[in-house]
Structures are given as structure tokens and as C-alpha cells.
């Protein structure tokens, strides 16, 4: 490993390309921590936002007017406000109204920390879009198919899970992919409430080492790779779900 570190140190001396995240132990650990936080944050929000989308789309078809209104209100609120503003609102405004807990130092602090608020905000933000994405898929399922399921004795929930969703999923996967890719990129906004994800860490490193171009380039490539992995997984999933004669 030392050979690699020395090579990057020499790269800085010879060519002025300063990748402290390779040869400086402190910066390397910070960046690895940032990468891990980004991955954790992304995976958690991906899962939660899909779940919210599924439940939301199901509730959109509910008989109760109240339930439908609640879902509609949720979508309007989260889709029409900028995620950065939501993040600030949750963390600073709503966060201070939450119950306080006593910490290990004997002082009270708000119960929900910044990382959790980031998860909540990002999941609900992407979830609002997912509801509409799933609705587009559900509405593409022929009415006769749903009626066929009903005539076989399926309840509304059963036909949603076993008939409508599997078909709807295949229709809306491209749109869902788009939204999930966006979600991974939106995790960078968590830097505003001090969640140490990659942008937050990179910002601090380039302030210390004054290597803005290097860190910017690294960030871009890191996100290309992260999103690339996500897109690849989604593509595999799409292929494994392909039905002959349905969709592609």
C-alpha cells in the first residue's frame, strides 16, 4: 500500500495533482466514511421511498375520500417544495418541537438526529414521486385484467399484490429508475444539515488542502460509479421480470 501512497504523493509533487484522499490517512478515512454514509443513506432511502410509493399508490385507490385526500396532500407538499428547504424545515423547525432526550453528557438534545431527518426527508420526497410513478403503472393495467381477478374472488388487496402490481411494476420501472437515480444524487443535500456524506467530506477536504478541482473530479466520478451500479442492478431486475409479449 505504501508504494501506492508514495506514488500519489509524488504525483502531487511532480504534477500538482493533490489527491490527499489517497495518501493522507486522515483524509482517506474521512472520505471512506463519507462514501459509506452516502451508500447507507442511499440504500435506506431507496427502500423506504419505494415502500412509501407502493403504499401511497394503494391508498390512492382507497374508497375513503379522507385517505385519498391525505395521500394527495402528502404528494402536493413533498413534490412542490425543494428538498433542501424540507431538510432545513425538518431539522431546525420541526426538530426543535420534538421531544428531548438526555444524552450521555447529562444535557438534553432533540430526539431525532440529523441523519434520521435526512432519511425521513429524502424518503418522503422521493416517495411522493414514486406514488405518482406507481399510479402511472397501475393505470396502465387493463381494467379487464382487474375485473378478471375480481371475478376469481380476489379481494382488492389481493388483486393489487398478485395481479396489478406485478404488471404495473414492469410498466413503470423506467420512470422508477429515473427517480431512484435522482434520489441517490439528492443525498448530497444532506450536507446542509451536517450529515457527513461525500459532498460534506469533500468540501472540508478541499478547504483544508485547497484541491478543489481534484475533489470535484473525484466526486463526479464517484457518483457516476454509484449511480452506474444502481442502474445496472435495476436493469438486471428489469430483465429478470420481463414477460414475453408484455412491454419490451
Amino acid at each position: 500500500m505504501d508504494v501506492i501512497y508514495d506514488w500519489f504523493r509524488q504525483l502531487y509533487i511532480d504534477h500538482g495533482i493533490n489527491l490527499t484522499i489517497v495518501y493522507d490517512r486522515f483524509d482517506r478515512n474521512r472520505m471512506l466514511g463519507g462514501l459509506w454514509t452516502t451508500i447507507k443513506l442511499s440504500l435506506t432511502c431507496l427502500a423506504l421511498s419505494v415502500l412509501i410509493g407502493l403504499v401511497g399508490a394503494w391508498l390512492q385507490g382507497a374508497r375513503s375520500v379522507l385517505l385519498r385526500a391525505v395521500v394527495q396532500g402528502y404528494i402536493q407538499f413533498f413534490r412542490n417544495t425543494p428538498p433542501l428547504v424540507q431538510m432545513y424545515f425538518f431539522f431546525f423547525a420541526l426538530g426543535s418541537l420534538m421531544p428531548q432526550v438526555r444524552n450521555e453528557f447529562g444535557f438534553t438534545q432533540p430526539m431525532i438526529d440529523n441523519y434520521t431527518w435526512a432519511i425521513i426527508s429524502l424518503s418522503f420526497f422521493a416517495g411522493a414521486f414514486n406514488v405518482e410513478i406507481f399510479r402511472s403503472g397501475i393505470e396502465a393495467v387493463p381494467k379487464s385484467t382487474v375485473e378478471a381477478a375480481e371475478s376469481l374472488g380476489y379481494t382488492r388487496l389481493q388483486s393489487y399484490i398478485h395481479v396489478v402490481l406485478p404488471l404495473a411494476f414492469r410498466v413503470c420501472l423506467p420512470a422508477l429508475n429515473n427517480n431512484l437515480v435522482n434520489l441517490v444524487k439528492t443525498t448530497t443535500l444532506a450536507y446542509a444539515i451536517a450529515v457527513p456524506e461525500m459532498l460534506y467530506v469533500a468540501n472540508q477536504i478541499w478547504s483544508d488542502a485547497v484541491n478543489v478541482p481534484e475533489m470535484m473530479t473525484f466526486l463526479l466520478f464517484a457518483y457516476v460509479a454509484l449511480v452506474g451500479i444502481l442502474v445496472w442492478v435495476m436493469r438486471k431486475w428489469e430483465q429478470s421480470m420481463a414477460l414475453p409479449g408484455y412491454g419490451r
Binding site: F105, T108, Q109, P110, Y191, A194, Q204, S207, D208
Partner: protein, 270 residues
């Protein structure tokens, strides 16, 4: 962050003003002829320069400026300046003297004539809740500490003192987070912290550790004003010798900083 912005601005100004002509006439003569010295001061930086209840300029630096006027036997006129325009004002001759919380840097010395010795200094300290049990920087280990993103002392606070750093983009966010209990202290410029400690809403807070990474402040005259420079240099030495700045710090409720105490000892000794 603040310092970076300021120094970048200073650098840009420096480039712009490299070709500017230097003042020819002696400003000391001009001041005496006019009967008034025009001093650039801060009006937004409590307790160093701020506005009193009736809108008058008060604070440590305006008091020093009045002292300069008294020594010259002239009247004084104050021009409020901010970090972004203070050096231009001096360059353009709109003020004769600038005493405006300016950190002394090499880039700025190219733009204006910073008078030696330095009259004040600021460094890094903590705005901490009283009773958290921090009395040295090493006590920060594993504690949640707020900071400003990009500040140069963040790394030291993490790497050397082991703090669990929570950095936000601006001071308003940090102060809110601190009041909400999301962190136990805020690591920042001590002059800013001094200013906060004057306000009643920060009564439960204190500055519990020794200031580190001290950087001196310089008052400045325009380039080419060598007579005025020499005069001001003697004035500053006299302030240090007589302990005037320490007395002013006490008057305005600031604990005398190590720098002023050290300068007082140095100059009063010989």
C-alpha cells in the same frame, strides 16, 4: 470561511489596485488643515465597533479612533466600513485611517499600509454551554461540536482533539443547532464569540479554553503616508505600554485576550 472570503476579496482588490497612484501630499498636514480626521470603523461588530442606543458609534475601536484625534488635536469623523470595502475606502482617500477588525495578512499589506505593531489579535475558541465540563481543548474528545463548513481549524479540532464535528454552512444554522442542544460548543473566531457573549440570550454560555491559532489585527493607513505611519506606530506602542486596550476590553466586557496582555508586558518592560 469568513477569513477565506475576506482574503480572496483582498487579493482581488490587490490585483485591481496595483496600478493606483499613491497619495502625494502628507495626510497628516491635510488632517490638521481640515481640523478633522476621517476614520473608517465597523458599525456591526460588537463590541469592537457598533452603534449605541442613540445611533452613536461606540466600541473599542471608535474609542481608539477618538484617542488618535485627541492626540492630533483635531475633530473626528467616522465612516462605517465593512470587510468588503474597507481597503478601497482607504485607497481612494475617503478615510485617512482604518481601524476595522482587519486581520493582518501578506496580501492585504500589498494593498494598504498596515501599521506595526499590531493592535489586536483574534484566534480560535469555543462558544460552549456552561457546565459541560470542558476546560481544555483535549476535553472535546468524542463530544458533538458544531463548526462552520470549510473553516481551517475544523481538521485540527477533529484530528488532534478528537471532537465529533457537526459542520453547517453558516453561523445562523450553527447558533440554532447549539441552542437546540445538537452540539455542546461551537468552534469559531474568538472575536465573534466575544460578541455573542455580550448578548443576553447567550448568558448561559462561556469561552472555556485558551485561544489558539492567533492571528493579529492591523490598523492601516494608505501606502506612501510614511509620516502618518510613523505617528500611528508610536500611538499603538503607547496604547500597549499604557494598557489602554486592556482597559477598553474590560470596559466593554471582554476578558483581556492573551495578545493584549503579552503586548502590554512587552512594551511596559522597556
Amino acid at each position: 470561511m469568513l477569513r477565506t472570503t475576506v482574503s480572496v476579496t483582498a487579493l482581488a482588490l490587490g490585483c485591481l489596485l496595483v496600478g493606483a497612484p499613491e497619495a502625494q501630499a502628507d495626510v497628516m498636514e491635510a488632517i490638521k488643515e481640515r481640523g478633522t480626521i476621517v476614520v473608517g470603523i465597523r458599525a456591526d461588530y460588537r463590541p469592537y465597533g457598533y452603534l449605541g442606543p442613540n445611533g452613536e458609534n461606540i466600541g473599542i475601536e471608535p474609542t481608539l479612533a477618538r484617542d488618535v484625534a485627541e492626540r492630533l488635536g483635531v475633530d473626528y469623523e467616522f465612516v462605517p466600513v465593512v470587510a468588503a470595502n474597507r481597503m478601497e475606502f482607504l485607497q481612494q482617500g475617503r478615510i485617512d485611517l482604518m481601524i476595522a477588525t482587519m486581520t493582518d495578512t501578506a496580501e492585504r499589506r500589498r494593498v494598504v499600509n498596515i501599521v506595526e505593531p499590531n493592535y489586536y489579535s483574534s484566534g480560535t475558541n469555543l462558544l460552549a454551554r456552561k457546565g459541560i465540563g470542558v476546560s481544555a481543548w483535549e476535553d472535546l474528545r468524542d463530544r458533538p461540536i458544531c463548526a462552520i463548513q470549510g473553516a481551517f481549524y475544523n481538521r485540527k479540532t477533529q484530528e488532534e482533539f478528537g471532537a465529533n464535528l457537526i459542520a453547517f454552512t453558516g453561523t445562523a444554522e450553527v447558533l440554532t443547532a447549539l441552542q437546540q442542544g445538537r452540539c455542546q460548543a461551537f468552534v469559531y473566531d474568538d472575536s465573534f464569540i466575544q460578541a455573542r457573549l455580550q448578548e443576553p440570550e447567550w448568558a448561559d454560555y462561556e469561552m472555556p479554553v485558551e485561544t489558539i491559532d492567533d492571528a493579529p489585527w492591523g490598523l492601516a493607513v494608505a501606502h506612501g503616508e510614511d509620516n502618518f505611519y510613523a505617528f500611528m506606530s508610536e500611538v499603538i506602542e503607547d496604547w500597549h505600554r499604557t494598557g489602554k486596550i486592556i482597559a477598553l476590553e474590560e470596559e466593554y466586557g471582554v476578558d483581556p485576550i492573551p495578545f493584549t496582555r503579552r503586548m502590554h508586558e512587552e512594551f511596559s518592560a522597556n
